[in-house]
């Protein structure tokens, strides 16, 4: 280990982390060349591949490394939250219709195809411009870009470093959800903890909100695969020895490091564009059902955040500003008040942080804090965190029974795969409220509101 490892948890969450190989994986990340301060794990830590999910590692630039496996295959997997100024009570009679329209209009499944087929020229534009390209196509509403991490466009993207195969896999996938733990969820704002901040974000108790959880689809998977594969040899050329080959990495400022970073930025932009188009399709779906029935049902964007990304950031360390590459694998940026990268209207407040729960359980809206800037390179948790393997969840839970059970609690589920649904059962996850309580009490995220699900569209 080059630095210590630090885990944020309470006693129970620590016990859960000790059940699988999460801690070994955390320790492994502390061996990355150039890592500084400590390798960090959030309370939703669980076993991944290479990095633990819930891991944050910063490497000092220029000599530090960038690790494609540390970012993972679903580059810029993230969450977008839209909110309505309409109460759940008003929407509930139309919920079944809304869920059906969302399921029909937002294709799901690993290789699902959307409505857009991107030519090479348009693909390059999406990869370079992200959500900004969607704006030019009429797929954004007024505040969408301001309310997106990096304003929906990661600088430094260069499509020259994206393979033909990655383009091929992504060409038809804009506006699609994917599979695994991806979802669209219609929620009710069940509780507001900080009314003044919530109002600034357009969040009001009992109103409806919609979450989108997905990423860069096949394009991002292929970019990660391309560079993890290529660096198996390249890393040896740099003399880098690691305890796990999935951690493979190269110096950030090397040609190899820059090529990956520029390709990763393309995938990140593709993911922003993907969630942007999904937001457009969701707005359309609500319109199809609610037009003429409910007034003022516009869906405004609260925020869009990434939780699988490597980013170049400036952080203060021991009183000095340092330039670092922050890898967040299943962790969320949580910049506090005063951060210069936030839009003007959020700068005094801090960055909104979106923490989805497991299916059928609560989700949370938090705000970034100064303590996160001081302790965790401006990072916090990203979700509930799994505690049960997918294989065991399939054995223990019937997808069909789970769907009926949730329906009896007033939660509608639309899913293409019952075994996929079983894998995402609430019992397979930690208690998200407990995870959020830890980050709130330790100050690396501050609770603003809690959301409860009304309808879930599963990828």
């Amino acid at each position: 280990m080059r630095v210590p490892a630090r885990l944020y948890a309470d006693e129970d969450l620590l016990d859960a982390a000790l059940l699988d190989n999460s801690i070994v994986q955390l320790v492994n990340t502390a061996t990355l060349p150039g890592v500084i301060q400590y390798a960090i794990a959030m309370p939703d830590i669980h076993q991944g591949y290479g990095f633990p999910i819930g891991g944050v590692v910063a490497t000092r630039l220029p000599e530090g490394v960038i690790s494609p496996g540390g970012v993972g295959y679903d580059i810029n997997c993230g969450v977008r939250l839209l909110a309505l100024l309409v109460s759940a009570k008003e929407v509930r009679p139309y919920l079944e219709d809304i869920a059906s329209r969302l399921y029909a209009n937002c294709p799901s499944g690993v290789g699902a195809h959307g409505q857009l087929h991107l030519s090479n020229t348009k693909m390059d534009q999406v990869l370079h411009e992200g959500s900004c390209w969607m704006s030019g196509q009429g797929y954004t509403s007024c505040d969408d870009l301001d309310r997106t991490e990096e304003f929906g466009r990661i600088p430094g993207a260069d499509a020259a470093f994206v393979s033909d195969r990655a383009r091929e896999r992504g060409r038809n996938q804009l506006g699609t959800l994917g599979a695994g733990n991806h979802f669209i969820e219609v929620d009710r704002v069940a509780e507001v903890y900080d009314g003044a901040t919530a109002v600034r974000l357009g969040i009001y108790e009992d109103n409806v909100a919609v979450q989108i959880h997905c990423g860069s689809r096949g394009l991002g998977h292929q970019i990660c695969e391309d560079y993890v594969g290529r660096f198996q040899k390249t890393a040896r050329d740099y003399g880098i020895e690691l305890p796990d080959r999935e951690l493979v990495c190269v110096p950030f400022d090397s040609n190899d490091g820059q090529e990956y970073f520029r390709a990763m930025a393309c995938a990140a932009n593709f993911a922003f564009a993907n969630r942007q188009l999904l937001a457009h399709l969701i707005r359309g779906s609500f319109g199809e059902v609610l037009a003429g029935k409910i007034k003022d049902f516009e869906l405004h964007q609260v925020y869009d955040i990434a939780h699988n990304m490597a980013k170049v950031e400036e952080h203060e360390l021991n009183g000095r500003s340092v330039r670092v590459c922050v890898h967040r694998k299943g962790a969320t940026r949580a910049f506090g008040p005063g951060s210069s990268v936030l839009p003007d209207d959020l700068r005094d407040l801090g960055q909104p942080v979106l923490i989805p729960g497991s299916m059928g359980t609560a989700s949370h809206v938090l705000i970034g804090t100064r303590a996160a800037m001081q302790q965790t390179f401006g990072s916090t948790c990203h979700g509930a965190g799994r505690v049960m393997s997918r294989a065991r969840a399939r054995k223990m839970v019937s997808g069909t029974a789970l769907r009926e059970q949730l329906r009896s609690r007033g939660i509608l589920i639309c899913a293409g795969s019952m075994s996929g649904l079983a894998e995402e059962a609430p019992a397979a996850y930690k208690d998200v409220s407990r995870v959020v309580e830890v980050v709130h009490k330790l100050g690396i995220g501050r609770k603003i509101a809690r959301l409860e699900p009304l309808a879930v569209i599963k990828g």
């Binding site: 591949y49 499944g109 290789g111 896999r169 599979a179 096949g218 080959r245 795969s417």
Partner: protein, 136 residues
Amino acid sequence: MMSFEEIEHTADRAFRVTGHDMVALLENAARAMQALDGDGAKTTAERVETREIAVEGVDGESLLVNWLNEILYLNQAHHLVCEQFHIDELKDHRLLARVETRECDRTYTRIKAVTFHNLKIRETSEGLEAEIVVDV
């Protein structure tokens, strides 16, 4: 003979596969991954097309990962279900294979990619063994 078992993994999926030699390990790993993903691998297409595939790696482990990723790619990009795997040639971490495929109307796989996580091809008394983690 196919020989594999799914092993526990918290977030993703993993399996252990064996083979009496490297060719058998590669073929069995492909069958194992298909079986793991099998509940979606349905097609009514009758036409079987044999595709020739060339894959290489820098060592045995990277050849194994690249081979499995190639099979995922055929499904995700071309909507092909791969049913039979025959490795005709294996030399210097490069393989030539024939894969029997049928068209399907969608991607069936829920696997995003095959990882290198803790991947090591080990020699056993009966041949070779590897544990493979896939991202879902």
